[in-house]
Assembly symmetry: none
DNA sequence: CATGAATGAGATTTCATTCAT
DNA sequence: TATGAATGAAATCTCATTCAT
């Protein structure tokens, strides 16, 4: 079965290219990122990239989907396992922190595709956001069923949680907070989501 | 006093250019936006832009600062006036919605500078974010002094509020929610910030 | 009226570029001809060409039309003036020889657009051919009215004359015949057209 | 005798490749034609072509010579058989029409090599043209000996006939005339060659 | 001051050719 | 012998910036 081996090789190369691409795209954005440089850093010829991806745009989109898979896996893992709602929210937050830290490139790329100006990728990024929201909504429904939360509008709440956490992590990074410092705020974030900041 | 008149003219032209630039930058992002087009839409010569701004980058940054001024004014207005903390938060949220709607261009540009990938502008955007945070923190301190909220870490809480609101509005827009629909969620957002979603 | 001067300058530059382009296109064909080289030989910057022509293809087509104008003028001059039909045909032949010689580039380019494989330009080249044919047909009609020729199908005859003369000149050139040698065959060509080669 | 079989196989593959190449070259011209596509349509690997032809250019030239063989056979058949000079010329014309129709690819490729701009192939194409001319000249000599034609300069006359017929067929095709319409003009063409268009 | 023609660096993409398998 | 993945030169076109008018 040489076919399988080849297919594996091909997939490995694809991943390799995507990883380098993510690094460049994250550092420079879609436009400034340079196919030549990506090829060079991937240690392959310029033309080779075009054997794996139709063009720059498709490379970017492939990378986006790839990243989304990873993120979804992490998010699901954080939410799916047992534990109190407080714990789950903390884990969700920590998952975002970890993604932002360990895969800073991917995270930035994803965020900027979503909130960035380049509308060309907003459609795709929006799809991914809906997946994230669905995952969070699913957890909220469970918690609601268990009576842990009161939740008039699950969709709206999901969006609040996603917005808060993603954006918080991103902003904290931008502000120069260390991973440790950010992680320490996990329980505060979860607490605010659950109990708010009103004094009583 | 022709000097003053000239100065006023100059400033007026600057603003005019910035406004058109914002439109293009918001539509296409920094790289895709085209100086030629900006000049054309501003009804001036290509070279003229370079009499007012050193280069494309400086034009973008000037625009960023300009927008930030407007936003700060709106944010301060929302927070400064009297009312309960719930009302203030709702007004803050509505201010973001309005900015995102009425000045969609500016808002998008600002967001993408902040969360976007192009690090070239992150430094400047971060400065602006600190201004926003300071404004929110100031309100929180007031409310804390009044006993309206319990707030262990004002900085962290400010960041939560800013992240949540900005990102929520942006995401809701991206998801295609209408202005009206978004505005209707103002009280929910404020309520979550104040009381959380825990059932009791 | 600075506008007029500018317009003249612009037109002069256009012509200048077209002339250099014709040289390159004739030497190398559409695909092998190189915009960089054309610019260099025209003594202008690469980008400047794109201020005058939308793209390579449009440059080629503009050149084609330009050439066709010159050729039509020469063909009309050869046919329009007085003289016997024999003289006119000889003049037509000589016109082709002269075009092929004095403006070898243009002539080759035109021929190859017509008979060459690159279908992309066949439509345009066909239009031009129809103009040529119409001019020849007009002369044939006149001669027919005068009883100089018997002509069952003027269209068909025009095509015969055009094909014969253009192709003869081109082939003779390809075979390495000198201008003088080719010109000496003018009366034979005209004679064949008029009287054929049958012995009686 | 496996040697012979192999040799036959090899020759068969060569022909097969050439046939597909002709199709592509005719459709797209030398430059736009794509070795990948030719290989694909021939149902063989890209690299295999290089086992049969040194490079793209040699493939093109081989194809050219191949086509010329076919054309020469057809031309000789049209001229060699008995019949009046009028009949022979008509047959020659019909042979060109048929070649242009039945083997449109080959015919176009050959014409464009001859009249096209790409000088790289002109030398080879010229050789082929000389073969054509020699064949026609041979017939003219025969006819001259028989007193059917008066022919001061056989070479020149051969060129006239070849130019007229090839170019006429090509142009008529370009102008959109159907095969039938073109064939109907055979006797007119032959007649013009023999008797001209002068009224008496 | 204002202009816009001119520039050329730089980016994407194609494809003939090689060569390890 | 046959293959096709990999290569990288080369070509088109864009656009920020300059500068003579």
């Amino acid at each position: 079965m040489p076919k399988v081996v080849d297919e594996q090789m091909r997939e490995a190369t694809r991943r390799h290219i995507i990883r380098q691409a993510a690094s460049e795209f994250a550092r420079l954005g879609f436009d400034q990122a340079n196919i030549n440089m990506i090829a060079e850093q991937a240690g392959i010829g310029k033309g080779t990239i075009y054997l794996y991806f139709e063009n720059k745009r498709e490379l970017f989109l492939s990378m986006l989907r790839y990243i989304a898979q990873d993120h979804l896996v992490a998010i699901r893992a954080a939410l799916a396992t047992d534990g109190s709602i407080q714990q789950r929210l903390e884990r969700l937050f920590c998952a975002f922190v970890q993604l932002a830290q360990e895969e800073r490139d991917s995270f930035n790329v994803h965020m900027s595709a979503l909130y960035g100006v380049n509308r060309a990728f907003q459609a795709e990024a929006t799809k991914l956001m809906r997946d994230y929201l669905a995952t969070i909504a699913f957890m909220l429904e469970q918690s609601h069923a268990r009576g842990e939360i009161r939740c008039a509008n699950i969709e709206s709440t999901s969006l609040m949680i996603l917005s808060l956490m993603e954006s918080f992590v991103l902003s904290a990074n931008v502000l120069g907070q260390s991973e440790q410092v950010i992680l320490q705020q996990a329980n505060k974030v979860a607490e605010m989501v659950l109990h708010g900041i009103a004094s009583t």
